[in-house]
C-alpha cells in the first residue's frame, strides 16, 4: 500500500486540527539578492516566503485542504499547486495587496486521483504533473489542454524531475511500483526503466549534468542510476538507517546528495564515495521535503514539525521558519 493513501486514511482533512500539518513540497528560487521559498501545507495554504527576511510574501488559501505539490514558474510570476483535489491550479503571483490571488486561479490539470508532483517545464506555458492514478501528464497552461500523457507505472506516481535543459526533453518519474522511469516528453514513450528499489520511490532528482539521477525510497536507501550505462551505479545506505528517505537533492557540483528521512534527520552523502559525510539534526518530526537553492549556497528542508529550515555551508547556521509567521533566525547551533 502506497504511503500516500496511508496518509489520507490516518490523518483526514481537518481544518480545525492543530496537530500534524505536514509540509509537503518546497521549491526554492532566487531573485536578485533574496531567496523565496514556497511552503505547502496540509491545511490548504500555499505560502511564498522570502528566506532572507523570513517574511511571508504571499499566502493563498486553496479550496482543497490537502495540497501535496507546488512549483514555481521559471519567470517567478506564477505558482502551481495541487493535491487531493486531483487538479493542478496555477496562480499568478502579484505584489498588489488589493488583488485576491485565489480569484485569478486557473485550473490546468485534471487527474483521476491525487496530484503528487508538478513542475513547470522550461517555460511558464507548460506543466508536467504526476498523479496517484499512475500516470504523468503534460499540460498547456493557457488552454488547460492535455498535450501528452505518460502511461507505464503500475501504481501511484509519487515524484518527477525534469532533465536539466541542456540534455533535452526527458523527465524521470518514481512511483509506488518501485520503478523509476525515464520518459521522452514529445512521444510519451518510456525510454528506460529501473527497478532495483525494494519499496516506494518517494523522490527522484537529476544529477546536475543530466547523465544520472538519484532516488530516495521507503526502503531507507538512496540510489544513483546512470542513464548512459542504463543501470544503478551506487547505493547510499547504512544499517543504522531504517526509515525511508522522503526527499533528495544534489548540491551544485553533484558531489553531495542531501536526503531527508522519516527519522527526522537529513543525511548528506558523498555521491562518488558512497559514504555519509554528515548527518543533520534539528527537525522535530519527519523531514518531508528538501531542496537545494538554484545557486547552490543553501538548502531548505520542510518537515512535519511545521517548520522550514534553511541551512548553508557555513557550519551550524540555520534559519528556522515557523508557519505561524514568525521567522526566527537561529544562531549557531552545535
Amino acid at each position: 500500500m502506497c504511503d500516500q493513501t496511508f496518509l489520507a486514511i490516518v490523518f483526514g482533512p481537518c481544518d480545525k486540527c492543530s496537530n500534524e500539518k505536514p509540509l509537503r513540497a518546497v521549491y526554492i528560487k532566487s531573485e536578485q539578492l533574496s531567496y523565496c521559498s514556497l511552503c505547502v501545507e496540509m491545511d490548504g495554504k500555499v505560502i511564498v516566503w522570502d528566506s532572507f527576511t523570513t517574511n511571508k510574501e504571499h499566502a493563498v488559501t486553496m479550496p482543497c485542504t490537502w495540497v501535496m505539490a507546488c512549483a514555481y514558474a521559471p519567470s517567478g510570476c506564477a505558482i502551481a499547486c495541487g493535491g487531493l483535489d486531483n487538479k493542478c491550479s496555477v496562480y499568478p503571483l502579484t505584489f498588489d495587496k488589493n488583488e485576491n490571488m485565489a480569484a485569478k486561479k486557473k485550473s490546468v490539470a485534471m487527474h483521476t486521483n491525487y496530484l503528487s508532483a508538478c513542475s513547470f517545464t522550461n517555460s511558464d506555458m507548460q506543466i508536467l504533473t504526476a498523479s496517484g492514478d499512475g500516470t504523468c501528464a503534460l499540460w498547456d497552461v493557457e488552454s488547460g489542454q492535455l498535450l501528452q500523457s505518460f502511461h507505464g507505472h503500475g501504481a501511484d506516481v509519487l515524484c518527477l524531475d525534469l532533465a536539466p535543459s541542456e540534455t533535452g526533453n526527458t523527465f524521470v518519474s518514481g512511483g509506488c511500483d518501485k520503478k523509476a522511469m525515464v520518459w521522452d516528453m514529445r512521444s510519451g514513450q518510456c525510454i528506460q526503466s529501473f527497478e532495483t528499489h525494494d519499496s516506494d520511490i518517494n523522490s527522484v532528482r537529476y544529477y546536475p549534468s543530466g547523465d544520472a539521477f538519484a532516488s530516495g525510497s521507503d526502503d531507507a536507501t538512496c540510489r544513483l542510476y546512470d542513464l548512459r550505462a542504463d543501470r544503478e551505479v551506487a547505493i547510499y545506505s547504512k544499517e543504522s538507517i531504517i526509515f525511508g528517505a522522503s526527499s533528495v537533492d544534489f548540491s551544485l557540483s553533484g558531489r553531495l546528495l542531501f536526503a531527508g528521512y522519516n527519522d527526522y534527520t537529513i543525511n548528506v552523502w558523498d555521491v562518488l564515495k558512497g559514504s555519509r559525510v554528515s548527518i543533520l539534526f534539528g527537525h522535530e518530526n519527519r523531514v518531508s521535503t528538501l531542496r537545494v537553492s538554484p545557486d547552490g549556497t543553501a538548502f531548505c528542508s520542510g518537515s512535519w514539525d511545521h517548520t522550514l529550515r534553511v541551512s548553508t555551508g557555513a557550519p551550524g547556521w540555520v534559519v528556522c521558519f515557523n508557519r505561524k509567521g514568525q521567522g526566527q533566525g537561529l544562531g549557531q547551533e552545535n
Binding site: 532572507f52 544529477y207 557540483s253
Partner: protein, 73 residues
C-alpha cells in the same frame, strides 16, 4: 487452447505490450560503467570549486547571519 475469456485476451495484449516495451528498452545503446562513472567524477571535479555547500562560504558572505547584535534585557 479452449475458449479464451476477455481477461485472457486482455492479459495477452498486455503481455505483448510489455514485451514490446522491453524490446525497446533492451535495444538502447549502453556505455560501460567505468566510462560513465569516470564522467560523473570529471563533472564533480570541474564544478567542485563553484559549489558553495562543498567549499563552504566565508562568514562575511553568509546572507543568513543575524544583522543585529543580541541585546541582553
Amino acid at each position: 487452447m479452449s475458449g479464451k475469456t476477455a481477461s485472457t485476451t486482455n492479459s495477452i495484449a498486455q503481455a505483448r505490450r510489455t514485451v514490446q516495451q522491453l524490446r525497446i528498452e533492451a535495444s538502447i545503446e549502453r556505455i560501460k560503467v567505468s566510462k560513465a562513472s569516470a564522467d560523473l567524477m570529471l563533472y564533480c571535479e570541474e564544478h567542485a570549486k563553484k559549489d558553495p555547500l562543498l567549499m563552504g562560504i566565508p562568514a562575511s558572505e553568509n546572507p543568513f547571519k543575524d544583522k543585529k547584535t543580541c541585546v541582553l534585557l
